[in-house]
């Protein structure tokens, strides 16, 4: 399936792309557009103004996708808190990891194409998933 989002990927779009590829559509192909009008007709758009898989109320796009696809995995919802704070920084959640992710993604966007950023952040989010999962299972910070 084809998925489209705005060019200039930052934390929310990078996390959404990872989420889509790992949990919704393993064959996902991503298209990056400058203008909403440039979204290919056969693509599902996300994290863009005026589309459903986007910010709604206080939710960032990552949270919206979790809701729309009924993803209830507590690990993903903990990651959602980190993505939310890195993206919106509204102190809704306690996520001390967020400023680090924010800086890492902003820096990557300065030296990488969007495709490269997704290639780099894929393993990063895989690792975050594993870390959060072990933490939840142990009930404390994993080694």
């Amino acid at each position: 399936m084809k998925w489209a989002t705005r060019a200039g990927v930052h934390i929310d779009r990078a996390a959404c792309a990872w989420l889509i590829r790992r949990f919704i559509d393993a064959q996902a192909q991503f298209v990056f557009v400058g203008d909403p009008a440039a979204v290919p007709p056969d693509a599902t758009a996300f994290d863009m103004r005026g589309v459903d898989l986007s910010h709604h109320g206080d939710d960032c796009s990552f949270e919206t996708i979790l809701r729309r696809y009924d993803l209830t995995d507590p690990v993903l919802w903990r990651i959602a808190e980190i993505v939310h704070e890195a993206d919106l920084d509204d102190q809704r959640y306690d996520a001390p990891e967020a400023p680090g992710f924010d800086v890492a993604l902003r820096g990557l966007s300065m030296v990488c194409t969007d495709e490269q950023t997704l290639a780099v952040t894929g393993p990063l989010f895989d690792g975050l998933y594993e870390y959060v999962k072990r933490g939840l299972l142990l009930g404390r910070e994993p080694a």
């Binding site: 200039g8 103004r49 910010h55 709604h56 109320g57 920084d89």
Partner: protein, 172 residues
């Protein structure tokens, strides 16, 4: 045509949000107002706010526009250039003055913490550093009060770490 040789001779790009929302219900109006306040926008007039344009500020205002639309209002995003440097300076000065006020509060709180016990002081430092970070994210034209506030907060740490000999406070 030749461009002006020095960039700052011409006003920069700004991103504007024009919006109208129904008076009632007031909850979404207040939510939007809070978000704009958190973003540190310059209020140009009723229903028209501005930020210096970059990918991030434009995106942030686009999300607010979306929220306005979802609440039954109308909103538009504009890229604009103030016609004169003076007009741009006026916007920048208003924004800098608003941040300066926030930094002054931090300095006052830091000064008040000076007389407290070390544990209270360090707890205060954590809180004030977070506050400085939040202000910094909406500070596009840093006033001199920023450095004073930072120094006042870091001074509390320096005072705890080396009671006999004070370390110089790092400026950034």
């Amino acid at each position: 045509m030749e461009h002006p040789p020095v960039a700052q001779l011409a006003p920069g790009q700004w991103v504007l949000l024009s919006y109208r929302m129904p008076r009632e219900p007031s909850t979404p109006r207040i939510a939007v107002w809070r978000k704009l306040k958190q973003l540190g926008v310059a209020q140009i007039s009723d229903g028209l706010v501005a930020l210096p344009a970059d990918a991030r500020t434009r995106e942030q205002l686009e999300w607010v526009a979306e929220e306005v639309t979802e609440a039954g209002g109308t909103a538009g995003i504009w890229l604009a250039q103030p016609a004169t440097l003076a007009q741009e300076r006026e916007l920048a000065a208003a924004m800098a003055a608003a941040r300066a006020e926030e930094y002054r509060k931090v300095t006052e709180e830091a000064t008040a913490l000076g007389g407290q016990l070390e544990t209270d002081r360090l707890r205060g430092v954590r809180r004030l550093r977070a506050e400085l970070h939040r202000i910094g994210r909406r500070d596009y034209f840093p006033p001199r009060e920023r450095d004073l506030a930072r120094a006042a907060v870091e001074h509390l740490v320096a005072a705890s770490a080396t009671p006999s000999k004070k370390r110089p406070v790092t400026q950034s």
